[in-house]
């Protein structure tokens, strides 16, 4: 341990802090540092492979003799399996394996739940065989409507305690058991201060109920694996956000040692939170492969993807808030009924508890179970929903006390960073004359509106990851680290950090990722990949350089500590301070032994004494609303985000744009629709489950604030999640500004806009 005095903060507002730095870990970079490649716009290392179609995703793997697996799923939302007859499937041409997944007597709890599976020599024959499986079901009463599910006489999704273990991807879903009554589980409750007292102090109180729809992750590459056995050794090519969590769940479920399993994810077609576990599909593929004695590829189709492997839960949120007339929040109260189908963990309280300062906050969150596919972690779980309700509430309170909604936020925002972000964004969107612009369109049917929303995230990342950096005698370097790149640019991030620390061009750094035989890499969730991985890579590179210095010291016959490295050149200074020995990078490398030097570093613990904060973001939306048709078009989003020190400005911009576009899609289009008569999803496709396309994307203006927090040696935080948190809330507020009426439901539809506008025009307050 050493104590290092650091300058930490942002935007010229720096303070000195003494931080304890672990042995083997470099001190966090100083703001005065001139970076070589960190923060530049660097095209990603695998861009060419992706742009040419050469990138081999797990779904692209074709092995000799490989079979295609297919899962038969329940057509009923609630049923007991009476019998499963695999024989007709086994007799089909090309079929090499067939297995039951459910047993007679098992209860199926959603339409799309796994029942049986087959493997055949072509994908077409696998489908034929799947359709030949005979299953007898006894249908049971079901409920898919989260409001009806709360009724006393609603059919029970779980007769006993809820079985919410899902391998659809919930990270850390293990919570202490909560009470359950009927289909309602909870509450998870929190309280700060005394909300009743807070409401008594308030000059203005608003309340409202906010409803959000289920959003499915819809990664373009579906969930799936290719499983191949060689004796007792299993190799899988997986589309996963966590190669190690996939490995460990396979080991546990199949009852084989983790050491016998290798998981590979070279390229990956998106996950957004739903791809951490082995999944029923993964375990099934491995079992089919074992039975058939041949490799099996089992990837879901689009419909299965919607039904069975995760979604963002819907929520019904009641919010009540109070403020004084000079604009201070006095009380915030939130009651949530979240619906994650057969899964729990549906809370949305993060924004209400953490974004704005309020002395009296009370939250109560309930999971409502329905006979629908289980939820899974989805890009900032709970936050887009919570942000939508909170930001609408903030606007309504501001209106009630007659204060500008941005000013009201500034008065209650404890984050110095976000207040700066609000200032930057307001300037860029033209907040000052937003009212004047409402009717500025030449088209009399068009109203314009501008709204704002805030994001908070948690600058986590932590211990566990390891990386090996090797410096070769020819001067090139190699980083080996078992992380996976979901499309975020993690591979390039790893290379950039190593190149920066070693002072090498990126082209001279080889990056090897995506293999569980490599040093442990983090699962990519919670926006923790960069803050976990980047400091690990830097530490390994730093240690490798130290080893180089030691080699030189021994060659020069000087003490190791007298050799210093600066920008990739080495020197040993004599007593007078003059360099008595010098070596350029190339000379130093040439002095290395045949094996070069290697260092494997572990991620140091976060510096508890650093300049800590929640990660802050602010977004402004400008919309156009056609008041005759209710159609909303988002014209512009201005986003201002803190993401620590940017590793790669180009991929950071991509990721923030992506978060915003998913937010636009969530605000206006996405809605998993279940049929109450049959309990089935009516839109399990990408035609009627609507996702924003190129023409639906607004102009996007992104600013990032570099923040030097010193929590880890690269000042890294993640941006994947915060970038999608405030978008929908900002859009909803912009729509309300445009039409002078509040929409309390996502997605915002033409009919909800028309209803709100009509109600406002009729002087009825305008709420829909």
């Amino acid at each position: 341990m050493s104590k290092e005095k650091l300058r930490l903060g942002f935007q010229g507002r720096f303070e000195e802090k003494v931080v304890e730095v672990a042995d083997g870990d470099p001190a966090p970079w100083d703001p005065s540092r001139k970076f070589s490649i960190m923060g530049a716009r660097t095209p990603r290392l695998d861009g060419r492979a992706k742009a040419t179609g050469a990138a081999r995703y797990s779904i692209d793997v074709v092995l000799p003799g490989m079979l295609y697996g297919k899962i038969l799923r329940s057509p009923y939302p609630a049923a007991v399996v009476k019998s499963i007859d695999l024989e007709p499937a086994r007799k089909m041409p090309g079929v090499k394996a067939a297995m039951a997944i459910a047993k007679p007597g098992d209860k199926l709890r959603f339409a799309g739940q796994e029942v049986a599976a087959v493997a055949a020599d072509t994908s077409e024959r696998a489908l034929d065989a799947m359709r030949a499986i005979r299953v007898e079901y006894e249908q049971k009463p079901f409920v898919v409507d989260p409001v009806k599910a709360r009724n006393d006489d609603a059919p029970l999704v779980f007769e006993a305690a809820a079985e919410t273990k899902t391998s659809a991807g919930d990270v850390g879903n293990a919570r202490k058991p909560l009470p359950k009554k009927g289909n309602v589980q909870g509450p998870r409750a929190s309280a700060k201060g005394d909300v009743e007292e807070g409401f008594r102090k308030a000059d203005a109180i608003v309340e409202g109920t906010y409803v959000t729809a289920v959003q499915t992750h819809s990664p373009l590459e579906t969930h799936g694996i290719v499983a191949k056995w060689e004796g007792d050794d299993l190799t899988v090519w997986a589309s996963t956000q966590g190669i190690f969590s996939m490995r460990d769940e396979l080991a546990e479920t199949l009852g084989i040692p983790a050491s016998k399993i290798t998981v590979l994810t070279e390229y990956m077609g998106g996950g957004f939170g739903a791809k951490f576990g082995a999944g029923v599909y993964g375990v099934t593929a491995a079992k089919l492969a074992k039975e058939a004695g041949a490799p099996v590829k089992l990837f879901l189709d689009r419909k299965e993807q919607h039904l069975a492997v995760g979604n963002r839960p819907s929520a019904i949120q009641w919010v009540k808030a109070g403020a004084t007339k000079d604009g201070k929040l006095t009380a915030l109260s939130l009651l949530v009924h979240g619906n994650g189908g057969t899964n729990g963990g549906t809370g949305t309280s993060g924004p209400v508890k953490n974004v704005y300062e309020c002395a009296n906050v009370k939250t109560e969150e309930y999971d409502v179970f329905t006979n629908a596919g289980p939820s899974a972690a989805f890009r900032a779980p709970g936050h887009p929903q919570g942000s939508f309700a909170l930001e609408a509430t903030m606007d309504e309170l501001a209106a009630k006390i007659g204060m500008d909604p941005l000013e009201f936020r500034m008065k209650n925002d404890p984050s110095e960073i976000r207040r700066e972000e609000f200032r930057i964004g307001a300037e860029k969107i033209g907040w000052k004359d937003r009212d004047a612009r409402r009717k500025s369109s030449k088209d009399p049917a068009i109203r314009r509106g501008i709204g704002v929303g805030a994001a908070i995230w948690y600058n986590t990342g932590g211990t566990g990851p390891k990386a090996t950096v090797t410096i070769h005698r020819d001067g090139s370097a190699e980083v080996v680290h078992g992380v996976q790149d979901l499309g975020t640019g993690a591979r390039t991030m790893v290379g950039i950090v190593a190149a920066e620390e070693l002072g090498l061009p990126l082209a001279n750094v080889a990056v090897k990722i995506g293999d569980t035989r490599m040093p442990y890499g983090p699962g990519s969730g919670g926006s923790t990949t960069t803050p976990s991985t980047a400091p690990t890579i830097r530490a390994a590179a730093w240690q490798a350089k130290k080893k180089m210095a030691a080699v030189l010291a021994s060659k020069w016959g000087v003490p190791a500590e007298s050799v210093e490295e600066n920008g990739g050149a080495f020197a040993a200074k004599g007593d007078g301070g003059d360099a008595v020995h010098k070596a350029s990078w190339r000379e130093a490398c040439a002095a290395l032994p045949a094996e070069g030097v290697s260092a494997t570093a572990s991620r140091a613990e976060n510096h508890g004494d650093a300049w800590k904060r929640f990660t802050a973001g602010a977004q402004f939306a400008e919309v156009e609303v056609d008041i005759e048709t209710g159609i909303v078009r988002v014209r512009k989003i201005v986003a201002v985000h803190d993401c620590g020190l940017v590793v790669n400005a180009l991929t950071t911009e991509s990721q923030i744009q992506g978060g915003i576009i998913q937010g636009v899609s969530y605000a206006l289009y996405e809605n998993r629709i279940l049929d109450n008569q049959t309990g089935r999803m009516v839109n399990p496709n990408v035609e009627q489950y609507k996702i924003a396309g190129a023409l639906d994307v607004p102009e996007i203006d992104v600013t990032v604030l570099p923040v030097w927090d010193g929590v880890n040696n690269t000042h890294s935080v993640g941006i994947g999640e915060p970038s999608t948190v405030p978008t929908a809330g900002a859009i909803a507020n912009a729509v309300s500004h445009a039409i002078g009426a509040r929409i309390r439901r996502l997605p915002i539809t033409p009919e909800s806009v028309l209803a709100a506008f009509d109600a406002a025009a009729a002087g009825k307050g305008g709420v829909a």
């Binding site: 005759e628 839109n683 396309g693």
Partner: protein
């Protein structure tokens, strides 16, 4: 998709002979058929393909225009003659589906395609259109469904080109074992009360060969307007197409057709009647639009479509007469 025998044929006569045999499907561009076969809605043993029948992809702009059944939506959209004489058709063809699909989808297939109702489109729902006894949409999820003719099967007809073609008074020329027929498009479609399992009156083995559009009269104006939730690929909430002839300051002829509001493309006769003989004005547009939607019987979730369709009629009239 279930295995099948593929029969490429060289003529429509041959196709017609083959198509009437049991468990046989007819394929042109295949966009709709393969989608249904993948879902298991159709599982033919034999697929007769007319995709390569010569001479059926031609576009003669006329006027009168004659468009072969295999002409793609992209070719129709891009055709200078169609854009000049039948701009609403070019607009409808060019706004349908996606660029890729417009390169594949044929005009005949677009007219004869089956509805996109999400209950019909999934094999698990044994709905009336599949010969079952329930219309799930009637009391289910019906935001995108019909607001007219909703009693039996409340899907909407998905053909955008038909909306424009009907406004232009187009006829279909068909071929079957019985010989050739010429059918006015506004008598081609079949409402569910006649037979919910079909959308049109094609007889056994009867195949659309071409579409003939009468020449526009002098002073003719037309406009096709549709409303979509998304601007990128999306099915319309409502469509309206108007084709009018104006002379001496008054509307002499008028055809108003609504799309995505009924199981068939729907002519708004009451609106047409109001328009004929009157001078164009905002007041007239709104009266005509109201007349076009008279008698609508919206479902629980789609009352707003009545209003949206009215706005589309108004906008189409305004645009045509601007």
């Amino acid at each position: 998709m279930k295995a099948f025998t593929l029969l490429p044929v060289a003529s429509l006569a041959e196709a017609s002979r083959e198509w009437v045999k049991p468990k046989t499907a007819l394929k042109a561009g295949g966009v709709d058929l393969l989608d249904r076969m993948k879902e298991g809605l159709d599982s033919p043993d034999r697929v007769v393909s007319i995709a390569h029948v010569p001479g059926l992809a031609s576009i003669e702009p006329g006027p009168p225009a004659r468009i072969g059944a295999l002409a793609t939506l992209a070719k129709i959209e891009a055709h200078a003659g169609i854009r000049k004489y039948y701009p609403a058709l070019a607009e409808a063809a060019g706004g349908a589906a996606t660029p890729q699909i417009r390169n594949m989808a044929t005009l005949g297939g677009n007219i004869a395609q089956r509805p996109r109702c999400w209950y019909f489109r999934q094999a698990e729902f044994d709905c009336r259109k599949k010969g079952g006894d329930t219309c799930f949409a009637r009391f289910g999820e019906n935001r995108f469904h019909a607001i007219f003719d909703t009693d039996i099967c409340c899907c909407v007809h998905p053909s955008a080109t038909s909306v424009a073609l009907m406004a232009y008074g187009a006829r279909l020329e068909t071929v079957s074992a019985k010989g050739k027929r010429s059918i006015p498009l506004d008598q081609f479609f079949v409402l569910p009360d006649e037979d919910p399992t079909r959308e049109n009156g094609l007889g056994p083995g009867e195949i659309i060969e071409s579409v003939v559009i009468p020449p526009p009269a002098s002073g003719s104006r037309s406009s096709y307007k549709k409303l979509k939730e998304k601007e990128s690929f999306d099915w319309p909430l409502v469509e309206a197409c108007v084709a009018l002839t104006v002379s001496g300051g008054a509307i002499r002829e008028a055809r108003v057709v609504l799309g995505s509001v009924s199981p068939v493309p729907r002519r708004a006769l009451a609106a047409e009647k109001l328009l004929v003989g009157s001078a164009p004005s905002e007041a007239l547009f709104s009266k005509a639009a109201a007349a076009a939607l008279e008698g609508a019987t919206p479902l629980e979730q789609n009352a707003h479509k009545v209003r949206l369709a009215r706005v589309m009629v108004e906008r189409a009239l305004r645009d045509a007469l601007a």
